[in-house]
């Protein structure tokens, strides 16, 4: 299992046409009162089936924008996203999203929240009992079968996030998109959730794109870490291959020299190469100047 993922992963110089998920030269401009703001510039990434990708970078660098473009919630200004050579231009259950703040419907129980997704995705493909089994199976996978019939306000934050993951998994997505899934959780719960996610990943071998702020989380979970430069015009700065063998154990890894090397590389990228501190002063004029040039370009074109 781990061997196959490794083999496919090592071919970084892969043929872009054949990639499972192809994020191709994506630019993203947002209109603002001062002209358009270029959030992303030439983001180009090819992802293989079964690969676990982490997007890491400082806040405001456009990680979520990348994820929303893959999800189809945003449309790229230039370039685009191809999933199995088909263009992505609207949201869909084959690209399930686990939202940062769980986004469970508060009036439905855990079971009903997953049911809504299952009813929609497998409306005709499954019988009633098959659906019930499938919903329960997914809730068991995230260890939430004991609180199936509780509402979101009756369970803890970590449990809510588990149900959110169960809902996404129940759609049997081609790609699982996770937007800082554990960002709002305390450290212990987060570690626990990461372990569960690794177990699930071992079983299902999903293609995952996960946004994170947490360096340890990125190294622990990913096959590749995509480090993004600071915005505006954020793009992919460096890509780090994580060749640590599966299954990974956080305690054993703490002393592993390779793990620590990867960790320090991410840290170096974030806190030396892409320091955010000096940007805070310079940011505003930079944005304005850029907006000005865009406006000027527009005028020239006109």
């Amino acid at each position: 299992m781990t061997m196959t993922t490794k083999e496919s992963k090592i071919s970084t110089g892969m043929n872009t046409e054949s990639a499972f998920l192809n994020i191709s030269k994506v630019d993203m401009d947002f209109p603002t009162p001062h002209g358009s703001f270029t959030a992303l510039k030439e983001v180009d990434l090819q992802i293989n089936k079964g690969e676990f990708i982490s997007l890491i970078g400082h806040s405001g660098c456009g990680k979520s924008t990348v994820l929303n473009i893959v999800a189809g919630i945003y449309q790229a200004t230039k370039g685009g996203v191809l999933l199995k050579n088909k263009e992505v231009n609207e949201p869909g259950p084959e690209r399930a999203v686990v939202f940062q703040n769980h986004s469970l419907l508060p009036w439905l129980t855990s079971y009903q929240n997953v049911e809504l997704a299952v009813d929609q995705v497998f409306s005709k493909k499954m019988s009633k009992t098959e659906k019930k089994d499938w919903i329960e199976h997914n809730l068991k996978l995230v260890h939430m079968d004991h609180a199936m019939h509780k509402r979101p306000d009756e369970i803890s934050g970590g449990m809510k996030q588990r149900v959110g993951i169960a809902r996404a998994l129940a759609m049997q997505p081609e790609v699982l998109l996770m937007d800082e899934p554990f960002g709002a959780l305390d450290a212990l719960t987060r570690a626990h959730m990461q372990d569960s996610l690794m177990d699930i990943q071992k079983e299902l071998n999903n293609t995952v794109i996960m946004i994170t702020h947490d360096v340890d989380e990125a190294v622990l979970l990913s096959d590749r870490i995509i480090m993004m430069t600071n915005g505006p015009e954020a793009t992919i700065g460096e890509i780090l291959e994580v060749n640590l063998p599966h299954p990974r154990d956080r305690l054993a890894l703490a002393k592993d020299p390779e793990y620590n090397r990867l960790r320090s590389e991410v840290l170096t990228f974030l806190y030396e190469k892409q320091r955010k501190v000096e940007d805070i002063k310079d940011k505003k004029p930079a944005v304005k100047a850029e907006a000005m040039t865009i406006v000027e370009d527009d005028i020239k074109e006109a």
Binding site: P91, N101, S103, L105, P106, W107, L116, A117, Q120
Partner: protein
Amino acid sequence: MSLTAATINRLSVNEKMMKALKSVFNKITNTLLLPVVGIAIFLALWSITAQSIHTSLGEFPGPNAVVKQFSALYDEHTTEREKATAFYERQEVRNAKKLEKNPNYVVKIRAYTGKETFVDQILTSLVTVTCGFLLAAIIAIPLGIWMGLSVKLNSALNPIVQIFKPVSPLAWLPLVTMLVSAVYISDDPMVSKSFLTSLITVSLCSLWPMVINTSIGVSSIDSDLLNVSKVLRLPTFTHIKKIVLPASIPMIFTGMRLSFGVAWMVLIAAEMLAQNPGLGKFVWDEFQNGSSESLARIMAAVVVIGFIGFLLDRIMLLLQRRVSWDKSSANV
């Protein structure tokens, strides 16, 4: 040592009991005692001031006079009912006799045409307000949902809603009266024109709070929930049923409660002028009657109107608690 520990223990138990007692006492004071005190002071002030106000119809009614009128109104109701049953009995006997004489006789049953009692008028008012409110809800809630979903429709209709919202029922009434007379022409009318006029006026005035609250509720749904719906590609109808309606139920109910309050207030005015046989007409008739008891009877009607308004609001609240998932939104 053990002795002191036991004493401390006993002391703390005593303290706990004292605290529990105190909280129970506080609860009783706040929910029972203070309201009673408030009402008592109000009644005292009322009876004192009433005595010093002299109108052309005699002394302004104090609490005593009003209570007396309540029992008088109830007595009138029972005698009127007795008269009605007596009338139907007489009619039956008469019809039976006629049938005996002539087997081919076609039995005619005539309805009793005595005047409406106070209780009848309360019932008429309740029926009218409920019908008017329901008509408004049937129009307002779907319209509000649609406006909440579509920014364009909202921009188009918002000025109209804002302009019509503050219009008094008294301004609508002449227009509605003429409209009903012009359009509702039937030889065998199912409902009277005055009922229809009051109903439509009530609907026209109670429409707007529901439209506004529903559209705000729908347009302020958490964008994450909308994204869930997008990712699932829910069809429009399922989207409304599964996401939009439950999410905006608290706001819809707030609008409905506001509207029901408005409807009840408007109804009294509408009935007064449209002569729909309800509480409004009762007040108007008593005013026109101008007997020495009229003011006390009107005051009795005022108390009943207030009480029913309060009850209607409570019923809506209970309904909201039943329907809404968010119990905290259904507080008083």
